[in-house]
């Protein structure tokens, strides 16, 4: 026994830069507390406590991030024996994630739009039974959605700071598993919601198996899963290129799946449509930020030196993603599915910035993520307002003539759609501009031309909705526009205002995004 203790004392515990990782620790710690709330508080008091805890946590994490970010070392800090890197892009991504999660949590917590909230009171009750009809009238909601949100957010924060592939894999699962469950918790149309959950889960597990096999092959190639070691091994050895490129291919497929890029997008429309709308907002905005944070770090950190071998393939993927998103988006009749295809097209634009592999490419992609995320949260906020007796009226034909019923909602939605299309004076335009100019500078002119063509095609289906809202007669039994409560109003206002501010005065956010590069 004494031998054990003397040996244990010789072990050196890794240094932890607590101040740097405080935002992440706060979010994960609060997630655990939130689980305890579920266990010990009486059912009727849980909602209030959970909302208070979540909002306070997000605010606390944001404050600690700002305090640390003010005098953080420019070169970044590596901590937990180098598995996490807190550098400038990490700080920017964390800030973005916290802001977007705040908006999404406001939508999740809202109980005014749908009486009792968008979440089912008890997910275990079988849809369509008598008990289910009883619970549909009840006010309560399954408050487990709050700890799940916090765990997913914590996973996302680890994911975009991870400096080695194993940490990245664990973070990927921590962010995905709660999202699979959240997708299945809708109060209305529960069959669709459960179907979305099962599809997301099976395809997500399939993709993470590919991700993992990629890690194993890269481990075999480099003898380590640290990004820097893989980069060193790839720079100049006579090891097997098969392992390197097979490993990288599988790894990137897993990442592209999470980011819903191009041919790996098949889950996106179904899951976006079936999930409760606040969860769709969270998933669409935050998962994209985390996934592209990971893609940027992996491509820059581990594979930059071999880029002439693989860049062509990712060109193809980016073009496929833009084409699929823009063309299939045209044919959609459901507003949530249409936004899902728009997110596939946006993922293509983001990939154009990610494969520029320059500091301008990184800062442009980061800015694009912030702008796109805020617009998306507000968009889904608006989608949740247009309702009929059956819940959300998401079929596009029901949106006809909306401007005559509710000019404000139609006006804000028009503005957000114009931002998604990338019209000047919106953040979407600035985002596209910085990403495309970075791609141009790194010699990808043909790709930029293709991207511009597809942004024009995509603009058409946004305009189609605008025309529908303003120039058609409303149907007699059309949907009503719910007057939102404080939470949803706040989320939509934050998103729409940020879309405007980032479009008119983007320089401060661009400075933050470009404050420093990755450290590996």
């Amino acid at each position: 026994m004494s031998g054990f203790f003397s040996q244990a004392q010789q072990l050196q515990a890794p240094d932890v830069a607590y101040q740097a990782v405080l935002p992440m620790l706060l979010v994960l710690g609060a997630a655990c507390v939130s689980v305890l709330f579920e266990a010990f508080l009486p059912r009727e008091r849980r909602w209030g406590w959970q909302v208070a805890l979540t909002v306070v946590t997000l605010a606390g994490a944001a404050i600690s991030l700002i305090v640390y970010g003010n005098d953080a070392p420019k070169a970044g800090v590596k901590t937990f024996s180098d598995v996490l890197t807190i550098d400038r892009p990490t700080l920017f991504l964390w800030g973005t994630l916290l802001l977007l999660a705040f908006g999404a949590v406001l939508l999740i917590a809202d109980r005014s739009v749908e009486p009792g909230g968008a979440f089912v009171a008890q997910a275990a009750i079988r849809p369509g039974t008598l008990q289910d009809r009883v619970q549909a009238a009840k006010v309560g909601m399954q408050t487990e959605v709050f700890p799940l949100t916090l765990f997913a957010l914590g996973g996302m924060m680890v994911f975009c700071a991870a400096n080695d592939l194993l940490t990245m894999f664990v973070a990927l699962e921590v962010l995905s598993l709660p999202l699979y469950l959240m997708a299945g918790l809708a109060r209305r149309r529960r069959l669709l919601s459960q179907e979305a959950a099962v599809k997301y889960f099976l395809l997500g597990a399939f993709a993470s198996a590919f991700f993992l096999y990629g890690i194993a092959l890269l481990y075999g190639y480099a003898g380590s899963v640290k990004l820097a070691d893989i980069a060193t091994a790839a720079a100049g050895t006579n090891r097997s290129d098969t392992l390197l490129f097979a490993g990288m291919g599988l790894l990137v497929v897993g990442l592209l799946f999470k980011a819903s890029v191009g041919p790996f997008h098949t889950w996106t429309p179904d899951v976006y449509q079936g999930s409760p709308t606040p969860v769709t907002a969270f998933m669409a905005a935050c998962t994209k930020v985390a996934a592209f944070g990971g893609i940027l770090r992996v491509l820059m950190g581990a594979f930059a030196s071999t880029n002439w071998e693989w860049r062509g393939v990712l060109w193809g993927v980016a073009i496929a993603s833009m084409a699929i998103g823009a063309v299939l988006g045209l044919t959609q009749t459901d507003v949530k599915r249409m936004i899902a295809y728009s997110s596939v097209a946006h993922a293509g634009f983001l990939l154009v910035g990610s494969i520029a592999l320059t500091s301008k490419g990184v800062s442009g992609t980061l800015f694009y993520l912030l702008a796109y995320g805020l617009t998306t949260v507000a968009t889904f906020g608006i989608v949740s307002l247009v309702r009929d007796a059956d819940g959300e009226a998401s079929h596009l034909s029901q949106w006809a003539g909306l401007a005559k019923r509710s000019p404000i909602v139609a006006g804000v939605f028009t503005f957000l759609l114009l931002a998604l299309a990338g019209i000047p004076l919106t953040s979407g335009f600035v985002g596209k501009f910085v990403v495309f100019s970075a791609a141009l500078q790194s010699g990808m002119a043909p790709l930029v031309v293709v991207a511009l063509v597809f942004s024009a095609v995509a603009a058409f289906f946004y305009l189609r909705v605008i025309v529908l809202m303003y120039f058609s007669e409303p149907a007699a039994d059309g949907p009503t526009v719910t007057v939102p409560g404080a939470f949803t109003t706040m989320a939509i206002t934050i998103g729409a205002l940020a879309t405007l501010v980032l479009g008119v005065f983007p320089s401060f956010a661009l400075d933050w995004a470009g404050a420093g590069g990755f450290t590996f």
């Binding site: 699979y180 529960r190 459960q194 096999y213 092959l217 481990y219």
Partner: protein, 99 residues
């Protein structure tokens, strides 16, 4: 016996799992095929640990097992709930969301 046979076996198991996910119809079997893929990866991690002469790969295999167990919890819960609703776990029956 060279370690590369184990890598080959792992690749074969992984492919079997991947094909199983694509062709099987029952959600539980599809999920088992995903587990087969994860365990195939474990085999290659351990083999690479042997080839590289480091323990990292074996430790990673433990991480993968823990993650796979967590995935089972979430996955079976979701499959259970949809089975109770539809009295079927066939992935072909989940066809409400399309186009």
């Amino acid at each position: 016996m060279t370690p590369s046979y184990y890598l080959l076996l792992s690749a074969v198991l992984f492919s079997l799992g991947a094909v199983g996910v694509l062709v099987r119809r029952n959600a539980v079997v599809v999920f088992m095929c995903v587990e087969l893929m994860l365990n195939a990866v474990n085999l290659s991690l351990v083999t690479f640990a042997r080839i590289n002469g480091s323990l990292d790969g074996q430790v990673m295999a433990f991480f993968v097992m823990v993650v796979a167990a967590a995935e089972v919890v979430v996955g079976l819960a979701i499959i259970m709930s949809i089975f109770r609703t539809r009295r079927s776990a066939s992935v072909d029956d989940s066809n409400l969301l399309k186009y």
